[in-house]
Every structure is written in C-alpha cells, then in structure tokens.
Amino acid sequence: MDEKQINVRTRMSRRQMLRGAGIAGAALGAARLAGAVSAAPRAAAGPIFLRGQGTTELSFFYPVGVAGPLAKLMQGLVDDFNKANPSIKVNASFTGSYVDTTTKVQTAVQAKNPPDTAVLLATDLQTMLDLKAIVPVSDLKAGATFDPKDYQQAFFQDTQAEGKTWSVPFQRSTPVLYYNKDVLQKAGGNAEQPPQTWTELVDTSKKIMDAKAAKWGVEFPTSGTAYWLFQCLAIQAGKDLNGEDHTHVNFDTTEATDALTWLVDLSKTNKVMPTGVIDWASVPTDFSSGNTAFAYHSTGSLTAILKEAKFKVGTAFMPKDKQFGTNTGGGNIYIFKDAPADHQQAAWTFAQWMTAPAQATRWAIATGYVPVRISSTDSTEWKDYVAKTPQATTAVDQLKYAKPELTAHQSAQIQKFMSDAVQAAVAGQKQPADALKLAQQQADAILKQYR
C-alpha cells in the first residue's frame, strides 16, 4: 500500500465524517475494510510485469458483438501486437455491448479520463464528433504500408466526415439471406438458385409451405434494432434511409412505405412468416432447426448456424425489389482526443496493425466478420477458408451494393424512432405509412437543431 492510497483513506473518512458524528466510527471501519480489500487482489495478481522505460501503455476498450469466445480471440490478437511492438503495451479491456462501451467511453470522456483507443460502432462517428471526443486518424502519421484504398470501401465510407478520416473499419458485419438447401430442393426448387427478387421469395416460400417442407417460409427479425435490417429493404426499394448529410433522414418516402408494406404483408396477406415482432436472437436457432426455410440475419451468425444445422446451408444476396441493396454494421477503431500525443500515435500504429491484411483475415475467419481489407480475400488463408465455407463469400460479394448504416446526430435516438415504426407496423398497431410519418416527425424534431 503506497502513500497515495493512505492519503486517500484519510480523505475519504473525512468526507464521510461530514455525514454526522454518529456515522464517523463506521466510516473509519469502512475505510479500514476498504484498505484490506483493495490490497487483496494486488497480492493475488502476482508480480507486476515491468517494461522498459520507453514503453507507451495504451488503454483499449472493446465490445463483444458476436456470440462466441471473442474476448479470448481479441486478447490473443492484442498479445501478438504487444510482442511484435515492444515499445507499446496495449491493455485490452472488455466493455460489454456496443451500447455499454459507448456509455463507458462517454462517461470517461466527460470525466477527462478517456481511453486511448476503443472499438465503437461505425455509426457512433457523429456522436463522438459532437462530444469532441476523437481525433482524425488522417492527421496522424501513417505507417509506410497504410493504404486506405485497400479497405473495403463499403466499410471505409462511414469513417469519413468533414473531409477527414476519423476511424478505421475493424469488425464489420452485414446481413445476408440464409436458406435451407434441402428444403428448397424438397419443394421442387434448385438448391443453387435461391430467390432473387421479393416476389420470388414470397412465391418460393408459399411452395415450400404448401409442400410442408418447412413450417415457415421466411423469418425477418424485428425485435430490438429493427432499423438495421429494414434499411436494406428500403435500399432495395430504391431509396436509402440516410439523408444527404447527418442532419437529414429519409423515413417518410414512398419507397420506405413500399418496403414496410411488403414486410408486413409477409405475415398479413402472404402468410409465409410468423405474425408479430420476431426475436432477433432466436432466428438463427429457428433457422438451424429447420423451422424456417429462409432467414434474414447477420453474417455474425454464420458460424453458429453452420455448427447447429443438420442440413445444407446456403447464403444468398438479400432479394431485390428495384435493386440489390444492403447496409453494413459493426465497429471501427477510434482514437481519443484527450489522450497524450504519443499515445495517439501509438494507438494509430496499433489500429493499423489490427486492420492490416493478415490480421483482418485472421479476425474474419475466427469470428465470422467480413474481412475489412480487399487484399485479405486474395490471401491463401482466406481462399482455404472459403473452399471449406463457401457461404462466407456471399457477404463480401454483396458489399458492392452496400450503403452506410443509418446514422445521424444522436444516431441511437434516430435509429430507435425507425425501429419503433417498423415494430408498430409489424405488430399491427399502425399502418406502415402512418408509422413512418411519425418516425420522420420525431427525427426531424431532433435533427433540425443541427441544421
């Protein structure tokens, strides 16, 4: 126990004594207990690992967005970085979900104690800019091998604002259509030719249900962040939900109304999907147990689905209406403004290493995320992987139809308005057009103060 902590102890008990003489005794007792307690883990933690004087220690927060041993994989990656870069030591810290991580970062930023770097949602960019919390990585000195053009542009475009690059894509997912090849064949279809259009999807689903090959034709989850998958439908219908900048959104459009009506009609008139709000977390299980022939879900679920399914699993582009279309999801690596300059530079070295082609391939294969580097897909590791898991190529190929995920100022709030609209329509509480009109009004009420 060093002097600083002893100091803290006296200060603390003084603070508590202010509560009244009657409690002072207890406060002293509490402080004593506190001392004993905080000494225990230190003793148990073993010898403190000492590094050379020139070592920059970085704090790095990361969320876990995909079920599986991701925290261990992340620690493995960070350990390898530390080994390869003796002058930098990254201390990685798991910080819950994306939302938890953003909250922890916001708290720390407001207390002027930010981490040096963190993985946050790609769509957190505007929120972090509004907080003045981050530095543009394009202002930092890039390594010789840094090549912005080698990042998948579908992912890279949401790092851009005010003509600068503010983050690097790291763990990125995108939705695809999963389908049951066995069921498709049983219903007289070709297992290698999944439906290409909205109409074909409905027709094939009907055939499958008529042939009693599966209980349901299709499942499109709408619980929680329903805006995410719904944005793909809107893009397919011809108009993205994102507006021309972060102060506008296109919720109340005929295209979005068409998309929402089509979604509602899957259950209501076509009866190929269970009615009501379908739970996001259960859809992969429903699909892998054969209850539904088609499922809209994230690439992040591929590993689990392949593990559980006892039939041949196919992945396909999400069917088009006027055009193919998808968005992206997942997290980028950000660097924080209040971190010391040498930490920022070290964090930038770290972020480049983490997203270099070799690491991008390794992370994608281990987790099910899409490789963020274009050259990753040319590597032997990736080629060997897709030879065994051809389902993983769909997401990469579909990226050419990708638009950035819905974002704006106060993006979490804006996204929620859209999710609420989708859920109200799917649950039958509102007509699609009315639900979207309300969402547009709610979003405009917030966004107009930024215009």
């Binding site: 803290v8 307690v37 905080s38 876990v64 967005g65 995909v66 925290a71 261990k72 798991f94 708290t107």
Partner: protein, 272 residues
Amino acid sequence: MAHKPGRLVWNLVLVLLGLTWIIPLLWVAVTAFRSESDSIASSIIPHVWTLDTFRVAWDSAPFGRYYINTMIIAFGIIAVQIVTSVLAAYAFARMRFRGRELLFYLYLLQMMIPISALVIPNYITMKDLTLLDTLIAIMLPYFGSAMGTFFLRQSFRGIPIEYEESARIDGASLWRIIFQIYLPNAKSALLAFLLISFSYHWDDFFWPLIVTSSDTKRPLTVGLALFTQASESGAAWQLVSAATMLVIVPVLVLFLLFQRQFITGYAHSGLK
C-alpha cells in the same frame, strides 16, 4: 366447508405462480448441459448431456477471479451497510436533535435518484480519489443505504421504548442497547434488507463495468456479459445458460439456506 373451494383455487394460483417461476430456471439449468451443436429448438431435453458447454463458458473469462471479486463486493457492501444503517436508523428513530425529520427526509430523497443519473458524478469522484479500477470504487457509493436506514428505523420505532429505558437503568451502554436490544428485535427487517441488498450487488453489472477496466477487479456479471450482449449474431443459448448457471448457483444456494433464517426471523420477532 365453505372455505374449501376457495382454498383449492388459492393453492392452484400458488402452484401456477410457482411454475412460472421455476420453468425458465429449469429450462436454463437443462440447456446448460446441452452441447453447442445441439440446437435448442430441436427438443426440450438435450439429446446428449454434456459438461463441455460449462467448460467453454468457464474458459472464456477468469471466472475464478470473478467469483472472489463478487463475494468481496457483495459481502463487503452488506457488512458496511449493517453498521452504517443500524447506527443511522437508531439516530433517526430515537435520538432527539434539531432538524431530525428534515435530515431524514433528505436522506430518503437519495432513494428517488435513479442510479444511472449518478454514474458520471460518482465516476468523477472515484477519479478524484484515484480509486478508479479498484474493488473499493465498486463498493464505496453503496456504503450508506437509505433503504436500509429506512427499513431499520421503522422497525426500531416499533420496539417499545421501555426496553431501552430498563436496559439503561440496568446500566447498559448505548452500544449494548443498540446491538443487544434493538438489533435482535429488528432481525427480520435487517434480513429482508440484507437479502435485497446482497442480490442487487451480486447482480450489479453497469457500475462495475463503468468504473473498472482490469479483469482482476471485475465481478461475475461482466463475465456473463461476454455471452449475452451479442447484437451482431444470434444468441448462443447453450453458452448463455451455462454462464448463467455459473453466476446464479452460489446465490441460489445461499438463498435456500437463508430462507429458513428469514422465516424463523419472522417467527421470533413477535413480542412475548
């Protein structure tokens, strides 16, 4: 005769309530023994019973360390809360001083403030005290409890003042009066409060997550969150169940043990 059908209906309601409570718990307990490749939608009972899922869950995070931390946090907090709440409750119940009622209501007001509103100020306090990323930072904001003080004060007020007066005549000190007259008579209120407080702190996730960053300082709930926060994939129900069992079994056992204490507490609290 007339009350018999009523009793039957009442028993039926109790059985139904019991079932709604036990079924999810049983489902989790059973699913925890399912292998990761055995889909939960394929049957209610696992095709093969296995401990593999527990092993995967256990290996995903330093759960051993998390157990120790959670116990230190939960027991540490309630130990301090007993002392602070009992003394404060006695002061509010029996001592006469100016502004006692006002102070008491001010004290109660803190119960109205949602914990989430206090996260940033508490974080800044911990930073100023250089206590960030320590177990003590997780515990410190809870050392005083308005709820505990309130429970005990109400309970102390119900104890006839004659007990205290006769003890005083016999020469008992204030400490002795509090701990030998008041506390035993308020046992049920104290136990009720401790159970609530213990389970709250055993389950607390958000504040520990915000205020700590190292694995060596974190509780079980952070380990559980590794499995339950997957927004970019479906849930791995088998792993979620196994990790949930790891977290709740000790507390379930503790509750089953304490439940008896709890009930006898009630039985003994009546005046002779």
